[in-house]
Amino acid sequence: MIQSFKALAGLPLAGSILNACVPETKKVIPGKLKGPDFKAGHLLRKALSVVPTQTETKDVVIIGGGISGLSAACWLKQNSDQDFCLLELEEETGGNSRGGKNAHTVFPWGAHYLPLPNNDLTELLAFLQENEVITGFNAAGLPIYRDECLCFDPEERLYINGHWQEGLVPNWGVPEADLKQINRFLELMAEMKQAKGTDGKFAFTIPISASSADENFRRLDKLTMAEWLIQNKLTSDYLHWYVNYCCRDDFGTDAKDTSAWAGIHYFAGRKAQAANTDPDRVLTWPEGNNWLAQRLRKPLEKHIRTGKLVYKVSLVKGNVAIDYLDIAQNTYHRILAGKCILATPQFVNERILNIQPEQGGNRNYKAFSYAPWAVANLALESPPAGRGVPLSWDNVVYGSKSLGYVLANHQQLQIYPENPVITFYLPLPDEDPAKARRMAYEKKQEDWAELILAELEKAHPFIRENVKNLDVWIWGHGMIRPSVGFIWGEEKAAAEKPVLDKIFFAHTDLSGISIFEEAFYQGIRAAQRMVEGKA
């Protein structure tokens, strides 16, 4: 009797508890490891000595199909009748604004949003209007943005003290003293937004080059953002986390390695106003800024050649010789062009630009350093939830090394987006970026998957079971690092100087901060200089 009672009640119960609690063998998450410039470095070295026999001529060649290259090409197409082509190493244009897709949705691999652009950026507003992101202007001249492109509500949430709060500025369970400091900081930033230098220009604006030259502000480039906070008696841990998060978000660097000028620019550079939304909004699309890259590319189809690795740019009898490898065909080609725009980062230029020092080839590339990034796209069974504010576009975990994740399906009009994809952003800041890069290249997909899940599990303990696929993209040289002294230093200024009025430079690393607007204006400015001989 007792035995059977035990068998009936005790064992099955104990057994089922056992089953429920013993951890199953961890689910392995399928996925791929991707990234640019794996093969490129290798091919570059191999090709360097080859002199192509096939030669063609062009008025202009643009190298690099990122935002700056595409924007240079667009400007050229609209404002000149020069015969030009654009050479891009990858199979797709877009550069850091690349996108990907699975069977259900598109998603970003890099840049994913554009904050409302400042109202004096006429060319950018015109581009947005051509592509119906701006549908018109109101009586006061303020742009009306298409609702589908403005980030839907809820926009941002922060997981802090066990709860998802609205917005990213910490407030849930944050002590009064910290809140005060955070407010003081935000007030200071609001002042900086409107601050003008003695030359009448905004202290912080976009493009960076239009900012005031007033030493009072430029001086801020000589200290770090972390030092600036301390100098201003802003010591709250919550505030420091937030500012650090912002530095990582925009620059891929920690506040302690970021120029205070750049750090403040993040908060003070943007002063947009719009007719139909409050100013702190962003424009975004399921595929992120790749949407913009596609629109930039559209009028250029005939001019774009992808899968072409430029390995040497040199001066040959008064022309610019651009030597490239057609990766698919494995053939070598030379274009002799009157002029050329290098819309490639300086670490690439260092290898391909073959110019004598006296002709302007003497450049200090060492000053340019880049923060590596890992970006992962996770295909999920169902949307991740949690206590507090529901799933938002941008979902950040307080205290995490990562920047959290963005829901790619957020801008879809579907009521219940199925097969959600989240894009997880992990900057890999380090005082020594080369070391961080080496470490990043050593990791396998499984390693990234574990690392990323560990971060996500802080807010979503059971997310592993929810992940169908996890692809990772490693950006070895993701973003230029605005380290102390870089933005207003000599090296950067020297690097953007054209060579003999024949070779021009456009890339966000010449701005010192990697954002869409800078890339867009880098391209325009280089093209303008080239055609109009403008400074």
Binding site: I2, A14, I17, L18, C21, D147, C151, P154, I415, Y416
Partner: protein, 503 residues
């Protein structure tokens, strides 16, 4: 410091007694909550519980060896069964035919286990006390425990922890006592490792239960309805529950009442006829949402209507309203009419790609209680809506209660106006909902309303409708923001206003 064995065991008597009574109270409370009639529920449950304790006491004589180990084992079982009992009851309430049987089985099981414990402990302690002291001590602690439980249960536990968490918490107490005993009697008991293992697992399980009790509750609450459930289905989007009592059917989506068959005619007449009856020869009608076919039923009263397109996301919904006999009676087989095309699609996606125009459009979406549904009330959606209205056509939108949620209601009105619709707000009293609001909208300079209403209608006539267009002094129109994808103000208004109303 080693606590005396007696003190420890007496303390466990105290815990056992407290927990036992708490489980009993939990069962009683849940039974009266779920089944109603609290006097009957409480007295039968207390009876069953005490009787089961008797069975347990009787059975205790069959335990002859390893008494401490058995005691610990039973303690763990009590922890798990008692701790999870409320969750089980919640979960099984609308799943099993004879819920009562499950209820009493659980009560009996807990009772038997608790009933086993006291005699076992008396026997464990029998050589350590004088008999008179033993009896006096044990029963003292037993009754003190019972007193404590009966006082804290209504005063603190239910209001502050809720039923689910309370049972898990007391389960945890049981399990922790078991674990402490394991360590204390480490050398004396058999199967020590196994017992410790089960203790730890029980503790983990119960802690998980505590942590997730909110989630469990949210899920189980949605399963509980006052009436008999005659149909349930879980679609990818919502849980559909149909209940029945002596005079009506009720449909719940995710626990929210959609209609009661007793007064739905008021809602659907008010929704359809004012906008439709003024239109000269309405040939094509579009219904967005409304997979129950009740709005379509009203539309089909107009012989001029040649084609009705119904777009509802949820296949399950349109399935039950084309298959369930009593529901077919209710919607008069409207969805089976050859004039009607049912499209199961996301309304936002559908409307973006649709090129057809309709003379009359009924927009009958669920209330904007979350950001997903909120998208269907935005200016972006209404801009799309403009494209599907034929020249001379009219639209009607259900827009929650202007009495309970005035900002929400007028936000819908203002958003429609912002995209260029002319609006006519009106409201009707639907007993099971309260004062409910609708908005008629058109792109024409004026509304077409002049005609008489169909005589067969049960609720509406011209005079009634004229009254419905009047908003009394305590329900004036309101200035609100326009609802947009990037502000979703309507969801915020709605949460605030209904939240206040329900609390």
């Amino acid at each position: 410091m080693r606590i005396s064995i007696q003190a420890l065991l007496l303390f466990s008597v105290f815990v056992v007694a407290t927990c036992g009574l708490v489980y009993e109270l939990v069962a009683g409370t849940l039974a009266s909550y779920l089944l109603g009639d609290s006097v009957t529920q409480f007295s039968t449950i207390i009876g069953a519980y005490l009787f089961s304790m008797g069975i347990g006491s009787y059975l205790s004589k069959y335990f002859n060896r390893n008494l401490i180990a058995w005691f610990i084992q039973i303690e763990v079982l009590v922890a798990v069964v008692g701790g999870s009992s409320s969750t089980l009851l919640y979960l099984l309430f609308d799943r099993v035919e004879s819920f009562r049987l499950v209820l009493y089985l659980l009560v009996a099981l807990t009772g038997i286990l608790v009933g086993l414990e006291i005699p076992l402990i008396m026997r464990i302690l029998k050589d350590r006390f004088e008999f008179k002291d033993l009896v006096s001590q044990i029963f003292t602690f037993d009754y003190i425990g019972a007193l404590l439980a009966s006082v804290v249960f209504p005063l603190f536990l239910v209001p502050f922890l809720g039923i689910l968490r309370t049972s898990y918490l007391f389960g945890l107490f049981n399990a922790v006592v078991a674990l402490v005993l394991c360590f204390y009697f480490n050398r004396e008991i058999r199967w020590a490792t196994y017992l410790k293992g089960t203790c730890v697992m029980a503790i983990l399980f119960l802690m998980a239960g505590m942590v997730y009790s909110d989630k469990i509750l949210a899920f189980t609450e949605s399963l509980n309805y006052p009436d008999k459930i005659v149909y349930t289905a879980q679609s990818p989007y919502q849980r559909i529950v149909l209940t029945k009592n002596s005079h009506d059917y009720r449909l719940f989506l995710n626990g929210n009442l959609q209609f009661s068959s007793a007064d739905e005619y008021r809602y659907h007449e008010a929704l359809v006829h004012p906008g439709l009856n003024g239109i000269e020869k309405p040939e094509k009608v579009l219904v967005l949402g409304g997979g129950d076919g009740l709005a379509v039923r009203e539309v089909l009263r107009y012989p001029d209507v040649k084609k009705v397109v119904l777009v509802d996301l949820d296949k399950e919904m349109t399935h039950i309203f084309t298959h369930h006999a009593s529901l077919l009676d209710l919607n008069r087989k409207s969805l089976l009419s050859p004039k009607v095309t049912v499209v199961n699609a996301d309304a936002f996606q559908w409307i973006k790609t649709n090129t057809e125009q309709f003379d009359f459009v009924v927009v009958d979406f669920p209330d904007p209680g979350n950001y997903s549904v909120g998208k269907l009330y935005t200016n972006t959606f209404y801009n799309q809506l403009k494209r599907v209205v034929a020249p001379g056509g009219q639209v009607v939108i259900q827009a929650t209660s202007p009495f309970v949620a005035p900002n929400s209601y007028w936000c819908v009105v203002n958003t429609l106006q912002a995209v260029g619709f002319r609006t006519l707000p009106y409201h009707a009293h639907v007993p099971s909902f309260g004062d409910w609001g609708f908005v008629m909208a058109t792109l024409e300079p004026g509304f077409k309303l002049e005609k008489e209403f169909l005589p067969e209608l049960k609720f509406l006539n011209k005079a009634t409708f004229e009254q419905m267009c009047v908003f009394p002094k305590d329900m004036p129109g309101k200035q609100t923001e326009v609802n947009k994808l990037n502000n979703q103000v309507l969801v915020h208004y709605f949460e605030k206003e209904w939240g206040k109303y329900l609390n």
